[in-house]
């Protein structure tokens, strides 16, 4: 019922005339604008998120190349840098201002625009209706708005790169007072205002999107698709949305207070401040630490917002390509749920050295190490899924396996950091950089690549080139470890993060050579990503055509749609679901799609 209503209310594609959807003349009012720009088709919106995310990934990646150049070659000069950065790289040498602006924008953009919008935005949009069996989202209009709010956020963030005083440069976590006081740093002037506006728009986008995802999953499942028959991708995307909806508003409130402190003379975060250039400030009685609580109340769930979609897709892709059911489906759902609940109770592990009450700190230690248990369960279940499988190394599968490897490596160092007594030593060193880049940055990126390679045939009706994909995978996996593994050692030497130059430090200048090595690998790995980019766009137009409905032999519903589904997804009735999504290798059959009714003599497990 509701499924049909959604479509009729908006685009008017009914199943009756959907046979023509491919040719575009089935619905007279579908113009270029409504089809590609202000589209309300969840598939198109998913692609919009993906491509915008890719643009940001390139920009953010390029920024990291630039600041790694500084760390690897602090004493060399690159005249071409002055050509592109102007006054920010006088004499071919990136200035400290520019370095910090690049680091900050890199962090913000990758965390929020690439790995949140680009990842969950893409796949929630693309997969939720297709895998639960719906014609579109609960509210296609809200869905479209969520993309356009993200787009506006992108435009504002981009514009902040070009203001006179530079973009915000106080780190992606934007701690006040530094972020509140333009007099403390040029980056905290106009650049910070724009940063805040962009982030506020982004939060709106996330809330619109998240509510929609939740409503769709809860209300628009096709007949027979009970919650326990949902593919794990959908469970993961569901929990991701729940995390976002509950935690983004808290971040928003933190930003509002910051905006007040910056512009309207309040003292939420400010107290007892004397700035060398302007003297004592009038503010008294605020708490700088309050912001950190508000920020990390989102900040920690945010890392799971980034990770869960990757976990869900890895589960789905590993099971499909191991030709074996995911091991412990209920445990997988349960551990996702545990991660969501505990994810809200660990935020202060980012604040062990802020002067936090030691007793409170100990509670957060307990909760933090507790969250490692569901993480461990997931890893063991993935391993068992591979065990005695019959594995097909599709590009998606390779990236899913890489994801598991990275998640293990980075998750284990979380156990170090979560123990406050060790975190005192390791906090804000390169050890933390290594931890979160491996477990969140690269691992989720791998989840995203896995998803793109796996669902590209559904998105564009063509395959990506596999040889390029294999090259991309192996070089990226090796490169990621070469970049981030040695950083643990830097961290164990106490080397602080966010340093522009280590030359004056007796304890840290010993790592110059290592930094140079890392920077070199960064450049290579960045170039390898261009390979992916090229493959992606080339294949959209020239890739090998998909000729079968179900190229990976997968059980889930999206593969029952036409090769190039129109708006509305299924030309006829939405199929009914009779079983869970993981009947691979059951009773000697390679796979049994969810739409196949349960046979009389089928075995029970």
């Amino acid at each position: 019922m509701s499924n049909e209503a959604v479509l009729h209310g908006n685009v008017g594609v009914g199943h009756s005339h959907d046979a023509h959807a491919d040719h575009g003349h089935g619905h007279h009012h579908e113009t270029f604008i409504t089809k590609y720009v202000f589209s309300q088709d969840h598939k198109m919106i998913g692609k919009q998120f993906l491509i915008t995310g890719m643009v940001w990934a390139i920009l953010g990646g390029l920024m990291s190349v630039l600041f790694r150049l500084q760390l690897g070659y602090p004493d060399s000069s690159f005249p071409w840098l002055e050509d592109i950065l102007g006054k920010w790289a006088k004499g071919g040498h990136i200035s400290a201002e520019a370095y910090y602006a690049l680091v900050t924008t890199h962090g913000t953009v990758l965390v929020f625009f690439v790995l949140t919008a680009g990842l969950s935005g893409t796949f929630s949009n693309f997969l939720i209706p297709l895998q639960v069996g719906a014609r579109d989202m609960a509210s296609p209009l809200m869905n479209m708005l969520s993309y356009w709010f993200f787009f506006m956020a992108s435009v504002v963030m981009l514009s902040s790169l070009f203001v006179e005083t530079g973009p915000f440069s106080g780190g992606w976590t934007a701690y006040p007072p530094l972020s509140a006081l333009g007099d403390a740093s040029d980056g905290s002037k106009t650049g910070m205002d724009l940063w805040l506006v962009a982030m506020a728009l982004f939060v709106v986008s996330q809330l619109l999107a998240g509510l929609n995802y939740i409503a769709t999953i809860l209300n628009m499942r096709t007949k027979g698709m009970s919650m326990t028959r949902l593919p794990l991708t959908i469970w993961a995307l569901f929990f991701t949305a729940v995390l976002g909806v509950l935690s983004f508003p808290v971040l928003f409130s933190g930003f509002i207070l910051l905006i007040f402190d910056r512009n309207f003379g309040t003292s939420f975060y400010l107290s007892d401040i004397f700035i060398a250039s302007v003297g004592a400030l009038p503010n008294e009685g605020g708490s700088a630490i309050l912001y950190q609580h508000l920020f990390w109340f989102l900040g920690h769930p945010e890392v799971y917002i980034i990770l869960l979609p990757a976990m869900g897709m890895a589960s789905e892709i590993i099971s499909t390509n191991a030709r074996k059911p995911i091991f412990g489906y209920m445990a997988m759902v349960g551990s996702l749920f545990a991660i969501v609940v505990l994810g809200f109770l660990v935020w202060a592990h980012h604040m062990f050295v802020t002067g936090l009450n030691p007793f409170l700190g100990s509670i957060f230690v307990l909760m933090t190490l507790l969250i490692a248990v569901p993480s461990a369960i997931k890893v063991f279940n993935w391993l068992t899924t591979l065990w005695r499988g019959n594995i097909r190394f599709t590009p998606g599968m390779l990236f899913a396996i890489g994801f598991v490897s990275l998640f293990i490596s980075g998750g284990l160092t979380g156990i170090w950091l979560g123990n406050s007594a060790l975190d005192i030593h390791l906090h804000d060193t390169y050890f933390v950089i290594a931890h979160f880049h491996i477990v969140m940055g690269v691992a989720s990126m791998f989840g995203m690549f896995a998803g793109v390679y796996h669902w590209f045939p559904k998105m564009y009706g063509r395959y990506m080139n596999h040889t390029l994909a294999y090259t991309h995978f192996w070089l990226t996996l090796i490169g990621a470890y070469l970049i981030f593994w040695p950083m643990h050692y830097e961290g164990l030497a106490g080397m602080p993060r966010r340093y522009y130059d280590y030359g004056n430090w007796e304890s840290f200048k010993q790592f110059l050579e290592l930094n140079r090595f890392i920077s070199t690998v960064v450049i290579i790995v960045f170039c390898v990503q261009l390979l992916f980019l090229f493959n992606f766009f080339y294949s959209i137009f020239k890739g090998r055509k998909v000729t079968t409905l179900n190229p990976w032999g997968s059980n889930t519903l999206e593969w029952t749609t036409p090769i190039r589904p129109g708006h509305g997804n299924w030309p006829g009735e939405i199929p009914e679901v009779h079983r869970w999504a993981y009947d691979y290798g059951k009773d000697g059959q390679d796979f049994i799609p969810q739409t196949t009714p349960v046979g009389d003599n089928e075995s029970h497990h």
Binding site: Y175, R392, F534
Partner: protein, 368 residues
């Protein structure tokens, strides 16, 4: 020039890879999709095991190259640090074992169970015993780590011992200011509105100020204020009472395995007991330039990377000698000729208040 060259090489490499990729696609059409897929599968399966083996060698090699550069390679310089190090080792061993077992399983399974038309995948959707085991075992292991960790945590955050030296540390963009309580062993009051960057960088209240309703606090008159280098005593606990004058900074002491934020408006504390003098460390490390560096560990602006301080660990005698030579900053601001005799006489009298006052400063630390 070299720039063009680099770009040209990159483009060339791209073209080659692309041509190979195209060609392989044509070949696969000619050979038949199934066959070429099987070949690719074999190749990737082989890469899986190769990656595992080379990766393990890489881990070993990286460790060999870099381990001696880390702080774990030498004894910690504080008694707190010893505990951190032993905890690091326990954690390293536990997570290390899990790391090797799971990574080996992952890549070995991928290799071993690569597609083989003769084999059928094993339908194995769940097994309660196995799942119970790998819930309970990690939970117990983590409990052990939590117990070790919290015992240390409560020790590190406990009150500083009675005989501890108390020193106030204040961060500012971009440097460190230190204050010693002077003869009265008592930190005088300060207020940020009377800060004068040159003569009174901490805003000590050493004058009546009717406008701000402040009364001269005689306890400030013997306070010693220095910048950049702080002197502490070997084998004697030292407590830092940490403040910031502008934005958040962080007193990072990697050699002592200690760290604490400096937050404007909210004082924090940290204490530790140094084990080796700076001179001893020069010998132990064989580095004549060795310093106990204070690194600012919280992003505080564009000069963050240069915000360095130095801890000089000396013996008690050397410390006393050094301290005797320091002049209270009150005396620099108001050279004795001008200073009121009454005020100058005050300090010696109120050493009785000492212990209480510093104790109060110490407990002032934790607001959340």
């Amino acid at each position: 020039m070299s720039m063009f060259f680099t770009i040209a090489v990159i483009v060339l490499v791209f073209l080659v890879i692309f041509q190979i990729a195209k060609a392989s696609e044509y070949v696969s059409v000619l050979k038949g999709e199934e066959k070429s897929r099987a070949q690719a599968n074999k190749l990737n399966g082989f890469f899986m095991i190769a990656f595992l083996v080379l990766g393990l060698i890489g881990v070993y090699w990286c460790n060999k190259l870099l381990f001696h550069k880390t702080l774990l390679a030498r004894e910690a310089s504080s008694i707190q640090g010893e505990r951190v190090d032993s905890m690091l080792w326990v954690t390293l061993i536990i997570t290390g074992v899990v790391f090797f077992l799971t990574q080996i399983a992952l890549f070995a399974f991928a290799y071993k169970f690569q597609e083989n038309p003769k084999r059928k995948a094993f339908y194995f959707p769940h097994n309660n015993t196995m799942e119970l085991i790998w819930t309970v075992v990690p939970a117990i292991t983590l409990t052990i780590l939590v117990v070790i960790g919290l015992r240390n945590w409560f020790f590190f955050t406990s009150e500083a011992p009675q005989n501890a030296l108390h020193i106030e540390v204040t961060g500012k963009q971009f440097g460190w200011i230190f204050r010693y309580p002077g003869h009265d062993n008592n930190f005088g009051k300060k207020y940020f509105r009377v800060i004068d960057a040159a003569s009174n960088p901490l805003g000590l209240i050493w004058q009546d100020n009717a406008g701000l309703k402040l009364k001269d606090d005689p306890a400030t008159h013997d306070d010693i204020v220095t910048e950049q280098t702080v002197y502490v005593v070997k084998n004697r606990p030292v407590q830092f009472i940490i403040n910031s004058r502008d934005v958040i900074h962080d007193v990072g002491l990697p050699e002592f395995r200690m760290k604490m934020d400096a937050v404007p408006g909210t004082p924090t504390t940290m204490w530790f007991t140094p084990k080796f003098t700076t001179k001893e460390m020069k010998e132990r490390t064989g580095n004549p330039d060795f310093q106990y560096e204070i690194s600012c560990d919280q992003m505080c602006g564009n000069g963050h990377y240069s915000m360095k301080g130095v801890v000089e660990v000396v013996t008690q005698e050397e410390y006393d000698l050094w301290l005797a030579k320091q002049k209270p900053s009150y005396l620099s601001a108001f050279p004795p000729a001008e200073a009121k005799p009454a005020a100058a006489a005050a300090p010696a009298a109120d050493s009785a208040k000492t212990a209480k006052a510093t104790g109060a400063a110490a407990t002032d630390k934790t607001k959340i």
